[in-house]
Symmetry: C2
Subunit: 155 residues, 2 copies
Amino acid sequence: MSQAPDFRPVDEQVGYLLKKAASALRAAMDDALRPLDLTVSQYACLELLRQQPGLSGSELARAMFVSRQSMNLVLKGLERRGLLTRSAVPPHGKALPTELAPAGLAKLAAANEAVSAVEKTMLSALSPEAERRMCADLTTFAAALTNLAGDAEPE
Amino acid sequence: MSQAPDFRPVDEQVGYLLKKAASALRAAMDDALRPLDLTVSQYACLELLRQQPGLSGSELARAMFVSRQSMNLVLKGLERRGLLTRSAVPPHGKALPTELAPAGLAKLAAANEAVSAVEKTMLSALSPEAERRMCADLTTFAAALTNLAGDAEPE
DNA sequence: ATGAGCGTGTCAACATGCTGACATGAGGAG
DNA sequence: CTCCTCATGTCAGCATGTTGACACGCTCAT
């Protein structure tokens, strides 16, 4: 009951640094994408769709760690701008497969070019080895937390 | 101009993993803090205030990577619940120094206990050395991105 | 002293994301 | 076949965070 349970300053705690890094990355990408009229969410959605065409809204939502409803709004916006296409009628169940339209592919190419500057900057700060290590550590980290949420949930 | 600019699957890219880890951490903390009627923002605010009593709203906002306005809402809520106190009149300029109230300190102690379970889980997944390394890498990472935003801004 | 510049707190409008709820379609248990 | 369960898309309401704008108080150059 003394008064030093964990007095480590916040900027030495993994959680805080994680938030700081994620926040900085998001801001940088936002700046890079603003001239193209794309938000980070929209860009991520397009890129995901390029790598895995035919994903449904719910699948995209899970991949991007947001709710179905939020993803639905993003998809509607992108569809209205002609950047992607969704089957009008569900070929199976209620899931609507989504794919990039030609305009979306072009937009994505421009976006990737804009983002590559940010990527280059952030990766140049890390050695290739450090980058690989960080990916592995982040994956481990996320897996541990996800399992915790999944297991501790019932009670 | 071929079609393989960066086809590395998203779950091997630092940015994606960063978002994934941050998202998982936030969800886990949210679960841990919900029984105490605290959001992650509120908890972070209290903890920050314990480590650095007397911070103003704007200073807290910067430390937490949100706008002054958002922080103001958080502070109002915590003040109304009697968890912190703000000078009624600004002792200097317009900045209102904020400090933890006794109730806030008690609440924070309970919150820290709840959060420690999450911390233990996530840190047990990483070796102490990996943790230290990760902190260093994340700091480097964030610094590179912050400088980018600061420099590229003018043009 | 006076004015410009800056940081701060606050109000308003807007954007984004979430939870809750509902209908629908597929698949399995009886 | 019928009922139950589950995943999906969608609507509504709410919470949180952001930008834009303004007033105020300090500081510094003139």
